[in-house]
């Protein structure tokens, strides 16, 4: 009897200690989750009902899009929210490859728009996409120089002059592979002083005057302000970049996602994109 009581007390003590540990783990996890809540996009709550949307219901649409699409997409998103009461469109802008990597890791999203077809192809290969992606815009490269153009650049060939500091995107990122394609087609061999991570980094180096010139997309120059100037060059035509968009397989509300894709590829969407410097695919 006594021994039973002792054993019982011991096991209680052990259990209570375990409980404390468990509680602490739960508390810590909860703290992390709560801290994360503010930034992570919420999963759309109700499943879409067959035969169209119910305008009164509060729904969230999550769109993963290439960083270069930020300005026109935010505009399209606002218009979409206006025509779909109760719907909130959340964007996550970033490098296309990074976005696809996040989706592969299970990030919840409804729509994906990438800056080139290779990256979208990867998403398709990973079975992330529902149906066939639609090309909706294209973008060409432009030479970007500081506003005062200190190296007097006017053509792609000028970039090969010795002493000219040229900055490109690294070949691993879409703008870099486009640059490589242009070089190949034009038969020039650029020796960049730096191969940057993103268009933003290339623009930064040119804007600060550290570099004499860089290659970025027309749309990037358009959004970069007065400190830089874009110079068109004929060889850019050999590397036109096509932007595809697609509804994702794991979309919580596939029909709403499809509607967003239609909004982008529709007349108004294309107009908005054209305003930002994109051309039709």
């Amino acid at each position: 009897m006594t021994s039973y009581a002792v054993r019982s007390r011991t096991s209680y003590a052990v259990r209570s200690r375990t409980a404390v540990v468990a509680a602490a783990v739960v508390a810590a996890t909860a703290a992390l989750v709560l801290a994360g809540c503010g930034t992570s996009s919420g999963t759309p709550e109700p499943l879409g009902t067959e035969g169209g949307s119910q305008p009164t219901e509060a729904r969230t649409l999550t769109v993963f899009a290439a960083a270069s699409l930020q300005k026109p997409f935010e505009q399209i998103g606002r218009a979409f929210e206006g025509s779909h009461p109760g719907v909130t469109v959340k964007f996550s802008f970033g490098g296309s490859s990074g976005l696809v990597a996040q989706l592969s890791e299970g990030a919840p999203a409804d729509v994906l728009a990438t800056a080139n077809e290779q990256t979208m192809a990867k998403a398709v290969a990973d079975d992330l996409v529902k149906g066939t992606p639609t090309p909706f815009a294209s973008n060409t490269l432009q030479i970007v120089v500081p506003a005062d153009n200190p190296a007097r650049i006017s053509s792609l060939a000028d970039l090969t002059r010795s002493g000219t500091k040229v900055v490109l995107c690294a070949p691993a990122v879409p703008c870099g592979s486009a640059s490589a394609a242009v070089e190949k087609a034009a038969g020039v061999d650029l020796t960049p002083v730096s191969e940057e991570q993103s268009v933003t980094d290339v623009l930064g180096k040119v804007r600060s005057g550290e570099a004499d010139a860089g290659l970025v997309y027309v749309t990037d120059v358009a959004g970069a302000g007065d400190e830089v100037t874009g110079i068109d060059f004929p060889e850019a035509a050999s590397a036109v970049n096509t932007y595809p968009i697609a509804t994702l397989r794991d979309a919580a509300d596939a029909s709403l996602a499809d509607e967003f894709v239609e909004a982008v590829t529709g007349t108004q969407g294309l107009e908005t994109l054209a305003d930002a410097g994109f051309t039709a695919p």
Partner: protein
């Protein structure tokens, strides 16, 4: 086993803390594609990045020592408002984001920066050069050395320096034969911290120096770039960076312990 009593409940958060730091590292090690690990980390781009990182971190640490030791001595022995202000200034790189540090460096040493034209006249082009990487690393790492050494110097005090002076040793001899040897443990741990910080430097480098294989693309930059191209390579290289950091810290610590065994 020490007999010092630690409240038992402390072990729970301590274990959680260990998990918090250790789990990501373990997870990373687990996610490495070991069959291709060798080929991933021995590509030309990877070895170039690793060697560049080691080389620049070593030079930057040396630069931190050359500039940081005198600074620490001045800070440790000076008093007054000017010293307080100077101390705050020296610690700025520690508290600002590295990217901001990179922007600041651009304003100072960039082509269109404060010293840009002067450097140009001298035939020095910092932008996009390995020198820029070293400048960025030195900028962010020096506070670690200065802080650690200043602490050691303050703890040591001036008692032994006074004795040295009354024995006829001039200030330079005292500095060389008394001040530095007595602060050696602090100097070594400061150097380790500075070297590790140099090795991990990313933000200021990418902002100020650019990214070109073999010239400015250090291991952290290569890892970040590989995330876009080949995520498996990014994970493998990350593990290499962790291994190098652990190795450096372990080796210097062992060396320091043997030193500490020789002199208290």
């Amino acid at each position: 086993m020490t007999t010092t009593l630690v409240p038992r409940w402390l072990l729970v958060p301590a274990a959680l803390g260990t998990l918090f730091v250790g789990l990501p590292i373990v997870a990373m090690a687990l996610s490495v594609d070991w069959s291709s690990f060798g080929s991933l980390v021995t590509t030309e781009a990877s070895t170039d990045a690793l060697l560049l990182s080691l080389r620049t971190a070593a030079v930057s640490t040396l630069l931190c020592l050359i500039l940081g030791i005198p600074l620490a001595v001045v800070l440790a022995r000076a008093t007054g408002t000017a010293a307080t202000l100077l101390r705050s200034l020296v610690l700025v790189p520690l508290v600002i984001p590295p990217v901001v540090g990179g922007i600041a460096l651009l304003q100072a040493f960039g082509r269109r920066g404060l010293l840009g034209s002067t450097l140009d006249v001298l035939g020095l082009q910092v932008a996009f050069s390995t020198t820029a990487v070293v400048i960025a690393q030195t900028f962010v790492a020096m506070p670690f050395l200065v802080l650690s050494l200043e602490g050691a110097l303050r703890t040591a005090g001036t008692r032994y320096e006074d004795v040295s002076a009354t024995l006829g040793a001039g200030p330079t001899t005292t500095f060389r034969r008394v001040t530095i040897p007595l602060a050696l443990p602090g100097l070594i741990s400061g150097s380790i911290l500075a070297f590790a910080r140099c090795l991990g430097e990313f933000g200021a480098t990418i902002t100020f120096a650019g990214s070109l294989q073999g010239t400015t693309r250090t291991l952290p930059l290569e890892i970040y770039l590989q995330r876009e191209g080949d995520p498996r390579a990014a994970v493998a290289l990350s593990l290499v960076l962790v291994a190098v950091a652990v190795l450096v810290i372990g080796l210097t610590r062992a060396r320091r312990d043997s030193l500490a065994g020789g002199a208290p």
